[in-house]
Symmetry: D2
Subunit: 242 residues, 4 copies
């Protein structure tokens, strides 16, 4: 069984009626629902309002793959919590960053770049599969479309991805490396661009299939209990301990 | 002209007579000396004892390529200074990490991993060129030897390098990805393993040639004045400003 | 000096009045003209009608970078000539494949794939720079446009490129890995998609800058006189010799 | 079920008593035996003496992963048969090249390089795991040893691998990229260096585990029935048809 934890900042759904209509159980609820269809997954959902921001040692230590959705609350996750997530990834936990998670602290700490990008509301996207032999592309055809999606465009300030699986085409004239993989330590990372809260993206069958594939791909292959470096848990933590 | 700044923690040379004999002007002095032979380089050397740890905005803003040597003083470089170096790399500055710089704060922040490794004193190394078409390998033959070098061995906890140029073979039974490149933002990074302070490694003609090649390769291609992300200067700084 | 040879099948310009108006000296002539502006290049142009298809041992042995333009005559280049080009690349010669050169024999032999793609006439392209630290992107902004260009779209059946520098966006809904690098042996390869014969693409300043950058990037770093393998010159040749 | 075909030139075992003692059922027999332990594999073994060199359309079309062992008979496999294997890989079949398969025709055609290397008989090898998050490294520790193995050393003339999973250290002073992955079209490729016929390498539990892992990793994710390119089946075949 792959133990999946879906983390959501859970903000828009509580303050915006339109968003609540689309995701009445929260975005985490919608993601949990379709992932729970799979027999090899055990799925739990947590939010920023839970104790320790939903990211206690206990929760992380019993998570094989962490899925992260966030948009405007990145700054409220304490550094120590973000460093804990990063450390767990280095030990083997998979990490799937969805949509605006490109700016969440664990992702930017793992990437080492600003992760900035170009953006604009309300565009039409066509997502091209440029890596058909990759397990995350299993069952995905040449391309699929999202009639409404927020435009995220290049230059996307990420390290050169190890694999680019999907390229996004936007009607307004932009392209984007929409599905990318990275590895850090023993952990595997997938970033997937679609999923603006104002659109029903997470009900799209291709999007669901891709996230399911990504759970299996990011699930740990080998793990380690400790990291042999004074800096393993981030320079910040080390400094704080002095 | 490529403006090179050589940064050294400058510690062993001040407390260890053996090291001082090898590097009477400091390791930074030795590196500055051979780099100064090149007509297209302007070279300056700074140390941790200089104002602002030798890494003021003024110095960084007039640096195209920063070379970093450090071993035991990593923790004394403040986070804010390390974040400044990282930001400058994201804007285009080249960064060359030598030997134990694998654990310096700017490098680990840029990598997103622990950068831990296996090590042992006093071994013999043979360095193999596995990437003869890479500019950093220009003029380097199939392999060269270092009779005395500290062993650094796998598993080296770095992200998958974009290019592996040199592989180290150690008599005691280890291998190492001894020369690796990475890119972060507009900046290029080269890590090069040889250079223990107790051995005259930086007088080796192949080592000198490689570092010269690396200066030219990491020199900025394009630069940017600003980074379009709230996190650009590291989550830590942002948090601190709140 | 970098010795550049521009190779052109030189067919459309001889039979199509519209194409001849755009490229009165042939596409090879236009490319030679702008490359000749550079002081560090020596440029010569050859065509398929020249002795030995313009690719004699003598010509190849005095070429540092070979630029290849072809569209419909791929099959007329004999295997032995294509194998000679491939062998020279493995020894260090740079190779720049322009537009329909994706299907030329030397390129497909070097790639090991079909190099097939999706295509359609007459579209508008916007070319995005997704790799600003790469030497081939030097001086190229976030993007530039070609008002008229043939659409080449994904899935492009190439090996995963070592670097993707440019992504093409087409008005009709496609994306393309428009500027890609590969290495084979001691040789470096750049494929660049724009350049349909019916459009004045090779007069575009960004296109010219990119090809100039690519010449410098693909120029040999190290070379070798021989290749240590019975198969070096292609299985076909070996078989023929039996 | 993953349908595995083990192909062996089956020569040394028939003429060399020492080799026959180690592999009384042939190397293909030994590989088939341990792969058959896995419940998700269906395994068949073929040799060069079988009709159509053991590589008929029927056999290839019912193969998900082809494992290739060969040493001295590469030249006897006709080009047309090698092109058929290559085409099947481009359509999705996995390919595992063992030991001297680095010089077999399908592999060199897929790589586009000479695949030459340095070699010497009778050395001791230590194989380091430098990619612990890769599925092919599942269950493999930091390193393992082979007391007797043929030395294969750098420079190995392959394209830059997409992933390097294992690095070989040889007592005599060489290193080697011993476990590498590549993709061509819809197919995935793994090259694994150990396996000289005079040593009992294929009885080593780590070697067996790695080959089992590689079968699962190279098994097709998506497949295609046709390849959209005139060159799909190799330039040679096309020419021959003219």
């Amino acid at each position: 069984m792959i133990r999946v934890t879906v983390w959501n900042e859970f903000y828009h759904e509580t303050v915006n009626e339109e968003v609540r209509k689309i995701y009445p159980e929260g975005i985490h609820g919608a993601i949990k629902a379709f992932l729970s269809e799979e027999e090899d997954f055990t799925v739990r959902a947590v939010t920023m309002s839970d104790p320790e921001f939903g990211l206690s040692e206990e929760i992380l230590n019993s998570t094989d793959v962490l899925i992260w959705w966030a948009h405007v609350k990145h700054g409220e996750v304490p550094d120590a919590v973000a460093a804990r997530v990063k450390e767990r990834v280095l030990k083997g936990m998979g990490f799937i960053g969805l949509h605006s998670a490109h700016l969440c602290k664990p992702f930017t700490m793992l990437m080492g770049t600003s992760c900035g990008l170009r953006w604009r509301d309300n565009d039409r996207e066509r997502i091209w599969n440029v890596n058909p032999s990759h397990p995350i592309a299993k069952g995905i055809g040449d391309y699929f479309e999202l009639d409404h999606e927020e435009m995220y465009g290049e230059y996307f300030d990420i390290p050169v991805p190890e694999d680019i699986i999907f390229l996004g085409w936007f009607k307004g004239g932009e392209v984007f490396r929409s599905g990318c993989t990275f590895r850090r330590g023993y952990g595997k990372i997938f970033y997937f661009q679609p999923g603006h809260e104002e659109h029903p993206t997470y009900y799209n069958p291709n999007v669901q299939k891709i996230i399911k594939n990504a759970v299996r791909w990011t699930a740990p292959v080998n793990t380690r209990a400790a990291i042999d470096s004074p800096w393993a848990e981030s320079p910040e933590k080390l400094l704080a301990e002095k």
